[in-house]
């Protein structure tokens, strides 16, 4: 027994005992414990195996910076890998298992990697891509090794059973961190009446105060401030809430762990909440993280940060070792040493500084500490737990200057200085300033963000309070009595590496524990010519593990600086990116998955389609009927039947999804003339016209119908997919370059349901429902008018997409279903059939009408054979650039029809080649749309083909390299069916 639970003290509830289970072993714990503190109380030192070398690892920290004690938390569909045991709150029934070890934690086969470490050094993976290893079996081994090792723990492959929520919030002041600085900032701002959010990642508020003795002066101050804050309605205190991202305009991403401290969320509770908080101002009071020292064996279980050792004593009432060697280069470790000594440990304190302030040496001796100035730990001894330390006298550079001597111990507590938690600041502002007296990078106040406390090197508890209050807009605060301060920044010796000349260490000395990056790896990268910290980081992977180098970055930078003979700031620092600590994907997703991934738009008749067996397809956000299968019918059988039925009788299709824009105002005619390629301004009321729009660069954008309702009053339709883009572009032109035009554009897509009624019997069907005269003479092609169906005012357009005699009826959406049902009912004697988008596509391909498969952004009017729609009497959007020389190239692919030989057909995207040419390269064109044509009795396609117009009658190869298809086809006119349009004009 070495580590043990103390009889007194701590912020744990000894009245209740919880049972945790780690690798099948039961561990007793109390509420207030973490998994790590409970393990230490049970003297469990070995927690996991390391990333590359599978070295034994144990608890090294007491917070989010933990790099070694990573476990699988929970089981089954809730198993979460790479969870630091130091942040897992104890709950009854907790189950955790070790990672990265097979067959077991104590005997792990992967540990042989340690013997091969020569080959696994910096950049080994990259090196396998070059030189003699490339493509060899060794490369394959490395590849498999990396794939298996990446991520370390195993994520569950089962669906996440938990619910997550998203919250949008606002405040005057966000305070990040609830230590003395954060609490003071929150109090000052709250007392001034500001809306304050105080976010703390820990389960308890108090920050570093929680690591001081319960009931002490600092603790009493904490209790008092928390009581005052809790009583104020303008304060939201959020524990278990990590501010993981700082974004532009003072927007912060936060994750609130609502039920992670319970076995499972209770009924109806989310597991976590994702907060997106917009703060007028923010105070960062995020504190600092202790730096490890770099010496041989500094990763052996039982080597721990000094502040963490003190935290285990004061917060969790766990003595992490009875015979302790403290290794330090600064004052702060003395507080930890005294804490451990008072709790009953025997202490040898090695301080690399040759001279120690008298105040500290007196204190150490009074506590019975064996103080060794000018000494350091050269090596930690032991395998699965620390058994001793080799200590040695060192010179000012951390080089041993004599023979090492062994001290038996069960804990080595190290302190190599501190690293301010400037991650959030760095996410926003990039590079911080180096303060040589602190040997650390420190942030500074910037627009809307103030920094306070240990983050900027506050020297004492009261200094933290002063800075916090000031950052929160308050004034001077009365000092609270405190025990002697051991501020780390005073007299700090910037020596963090204990090694012989040339970086030699008597064993592996780690810089980045989680990614197994050794001192020797940094040195090797330097020898290989790496001089930039950004390159060093990526080459060695130092700082790239899940902990983002919270304990390793400064040591890696310092080593590179020393090797290059430069000051630390000259080498620079890397930039932090969100998130500060890992965030569950489920939290970011919230409820936006599955059917809720994005909004779904349904037409007014959606329920009817559903009830009548329609198979729906997505068109943007819309759901549309694709086909209505009868019993046993395939897609192809169904659409062929539906399309043939339209040409023989009459059919109806829901086209509500087409974009509809009201264009209104005195200059509407002029506006439409500018927007469309063809003349629109001369449309008279009651008439409609098909039109084409280009982009500014001269390529075809969209098509649709313009109906003139009256003077300065038009209803314009667009394709379903481009409805939003056409409207936004119209608004842009009208609000910028053309703002002299008096025109309003309004989307009325959702206002009108629209149905196309097509086929030889369509007139008879409509005539049976409406009173108006719609004979060909009274209501010819391209006419429109108002009609009433069952008392409902509708609009009737005589327009045809199918090539049949056809109409589109526009119905106010709320009456859409009633009119649809009236049409279906009236259609019974005329054998009305419903059809979906698939049959609609077949009909339009037979007619050679282009859709977005042809107007796909790379085609011109010339390419699509639509030159005739370009007015020569007026300029329009794209009218100059469409005539660019490069677009006049006669070899550009142009629209043709294909009659495909055989019964298999082709697929959109298939390439076209000359009949006797090999099917290599990009070919001479491609298939854009294809269908089985019931009217022609063969497979047909629209395609774009070089010199298309000159190649009628030629046979070409149609090759689909993806579908492994190679057929022949005859090049024909794209107007396959009724090219003169007799049927639609009947």
């Amino acid at each position: 027994m070495t580590a043990r639970r103390l009889d007194r003290g701590g912020r744990i509830d000894r009245g209740r005992t919880l049972t945790l289970r780690f690798d099948g072993r039961d561990i007793a714990a109390h509420p207030g414990d973490t998994l790590a503190s409970a393990m230490l109380a049970a003297d469990i030192r070995l927690v996991g195996r390391s990333f590359k070398y599978h070295r034994p690892r144990g608890v090294m920290a007491a917070g989010v910076e933990e790099a070694n004690a990573l476990v699988h938390l929970r089981e089954g569909d809730r198993r979460e890998p790479n969870t630091p045991a130091t942040v897992v709150e104890a709950f009854d029934g907790l189950v955790a298992t070790s990672q990265n070890a097979w067959p077991g934690l104590r005997f792990d086969v992967g540990a042989v990697n340690g013997l091969a470490s020569r080959f696994l050094g910096a950049g080994f993976y990259y090196k396998t891509f070059i030189g003699p290893f490339r493509g060899t079996r060794f490369w394959m081994v490395c590849e498999a090794f990396i794939r298996r090792a990446a991520g370390m723990g195993r994520a569950t492959t089962l669906d996440d059973p938990d619910a997550y929520e998203k919250v949008n919030a606002f405040c005057d002041l966000l305070v990040v961190g609830s230590g003395p600085a954060g609490l003071s900032a929150a109090l000052a701002a709250a007392e001034a009446g500001r809306e304050v959010v105080l976010a703390e990642q820990d389960s308890q508020l108090g920050g570093s105060i929680l690591s001081t003795p319960v009931g002490g002066a600092q603790d009493q101050w904490r209790e008092e401030v928390l009581a005052r804050l809790a009583a104020m309605p303008n304060v939201r205190l959020m524990s278990r809430t990590t501010v993981f991202g700082a974004y532009d305009s003072n927007v912060f991403g936060m994750v609130e762990r609502v039920t992670d401290h319970l076995a499972a969320p209770s009924n109806g509770m989310p597991r976590q909440r994702y907060w997106l908080l917009r703060a007028r101002q923010a105070v960062l009071a995020t504190g600092a993280i202790e730096r490890p020292l770099v010496f041989a064996g500094n990763d052996v279980p039982g080597v721990m940060l000094a502040s963490a050792a003190a935290t285990y004593v004061n917060r969790y009432a766990v003595l992490p070792g009875e015979r302790v060697v403290v290794a330090a280069n600064n004052d702060s470790a003395y507080a930890a040493a005294v804490t451990l000594a008072r709790a009953g440990a025997r202490i040898v304190l090695c301080d690399v500084r040759a001279s120690v302030p008298k105040e500290l040496s007196d204190l150490a001796r009074a506590a019975g500490i064996d103080l060794r100035p000018g000494h350091a730990v050269l090596k930690a001894q032991g395998g699965q737990r620390v058994t001793g330390a080799q200590i040695v006298a060192v010179n000012g550079d951390g080089r041993p200057s004599g023979a090492a001597m062994r001290v038996a111990c069960d804990l080595i507590a190290m302190s190599g200085g501190w690293a301010p938690v400037l991650h959030l600041w760095s996410q926003r502002f990039g590079k911080p300033v180096y303060r040589p007296e602190l040997d650390a990078f420190v942030p500074a106040d910037r627009d809307g963000i103030a920094c306070a406390g240990s983050l900027i090197g506050a020297e004492s508890f009261n200094a933290c309070r002063e800075q916090g209050a000031s950052a929160g807009g308050g004034s001077h605060v009365a000092a609270v009595p405190e025990s002697p301060t051991f501020f780390w920044g005073r007299n700090l010796s910037p020596v963090s590496v204990i090694a012989h000349a040339g970086g030699r260490t008597p064993g592996k000395a780690f810089v980045d524990f989680q990614h197994d990056v050794k001192l020797a790896d940094i040195d090797q990268a330097h020898r290989e010519g790496f001089v930039s910290v950004e390159h060093l980081k990526r080459y060695t992977t130092s700082g790239m593990a899940a902990d983002q180098g919270k304990t390793s970055n400064l040591n890696a930078l310092a080593r590179l600086a020393a090797l290059r003979g430069m000051e630390l700031p000259a080498v620079g620092t890397t930039t932090f990116r969100p998130p500060y600590t890992p965030v569950s994907i489920g939290t970011l997703v919230g409820h936006e998955f599955g059917l809720h991934f994005r909004p779904i738009r349904r037409t007014a008749v959606h329920g009817w389609h559903h009830d009548h067996g329609a198979v729906m397809t997505e068109a943007g956000l819309w759901l549309r009927p694709q086909y209505y299968p009868q019993a046993g019918e395939s897609l192809r059988e169904a659409y062929v039947r539906e399309a043939a039925h339209v040409r023989a009788h009459v059919g109806i299709v829901d086209v509500s999804t087409l974009g509809k824009i009201a264009v209104q105002g005195p200059d509407a005619a002029e506006f439409l003339d500018r927007l469309y390629t063809n003349k629109m301004g001369n449309l008279s009321p009651g008439r409609l016209r098909y039109g084409l729009m280009l982009r500014e660069d001269g390529f075809v954008h969209d098509d649709g119908i313009v109906a003139c309702l009256g003077e300065g009053d038009y209803l314009v339709s667009t394709t379903t997919a481009n409805a939003a883009a056409v409207l936004a572009n119209a608004e842009h032109l009208l609000q910028t370059a053309w703002r002299d035009l008096r025109v309003h554009v309004t989307s009325v897509t959702d206002y009108w349901a629209a149905f196309a009624v097509a086929g030889p019997n369509s007139r008879a069907l409509l005539a049976s429902l409406i009173e108006a005269d719609i004979s060909n003479a009274a209501f010819p092609a391209n006419a429109h008018r108002e009609v009433t169906v069952g008392g409902i005012a509708c609009r009737l357009h005589r327009t045809s997409y199918s090539g049949e005699l056809a109409y589109e009826i526009l119905v106010p959406s709320t009456h859409g279903l009633a009119v649809w049902e009236a049409l279906v009912e009236a259609g019974r004697p005329l054998d009305l059939g419903v059809y979906g988008t698939e049959a609609m596509g077949a009909l339009r391909i037979e007619k050679g009408h282009v859709a977005l498969a042809e107007m796909e952004g790379r085609t011109t009017m010339g390419d699509l054979g639509m030159e005739g729609l370009a007015s020569r009497r007026k300029p329009f959007v794209g009218s100059v650039l469409r005539l660019r020389e490069v677009l006049a190239d006669p070899s550009r692919p142009t629209l043709v029809g294909l009659k495909i030989d055989g019964s298999i057909g082709a697929r959109a995207g298939a390439l076209l080649f000359r009949r006797n040419d090999p099917a290599t390269g990009h070919g001479e064109g491609w298939v854009s749309s294809t269908t089985w044509s019931p009217a022609l009795g063969c497979n047909i396609a629209l395609a774009l083909l070089r010199h298309g117009a000159e190649r009628m009658g030629e046979r070409v190869r149609v090759v689909d390299l993806v579908g492994d298809l190679d057929v022949t086809a005859e090049v024909v006119s794209p107007k396959f069916f009724d090219p003169e349009g007799h049927r639609q004009n009947a």
């Binding site: 974004y247 532009d248 305009s249 927007v251 997106l276 917009r278 627009d447 500018r674 500014e696 660069d697 936004a728 608004e731 842009h732 609000q735 910028t736 370059a737 053309w738 703002r739 300029p875 100059v880 650039l881 005539l883 660019r884």
Partner: protein, 93 residues
């Protein structure tokens, strides 16, 4: 995330807007037949480091096009207003 001051709706999240490109280019007059002018308008852009005026469309709000001055280096937001007041007019014929 940027927050953009819409003169109609107030300070709103970037996610309510769509980006509309460079707001310093001037559209040639409608009947300008000179291809060079149009090529310039459509394709030629500066890539400034620092303050830049650009169009943002308040799609999830009032649907007004705005001219927003944004620092491309720091994302600091400067003058913001309605495009119909701040956008460059069409070039003179």
């Amino acid at each position: 995330m940027l927050r953009i001051h819409c003169p109609v709706c107030g300070l709103r999240d970037e996610t309510e807007f769509t980006y509309g490109g460079d707001a310093t280019v001037r559209r040639p007059a409608m009947d300008d037949p000179e291809p060079a002018h149009w090529l310039d308008y459509v394709f030629t852009r500066d890539n400034p480091r620092g303050p830049h005026r650009e169009y943002w469309h308040h799609l999830g709000g009032c649907r007004q096009w705005l001219v927003v001055e944004r620092d491309t280096l720091t994302h600091a937001m400067g003058e913001t207003g309605l495009a119909r007041e701040m956008a460059p007019l069409e070039m003179e014929p």
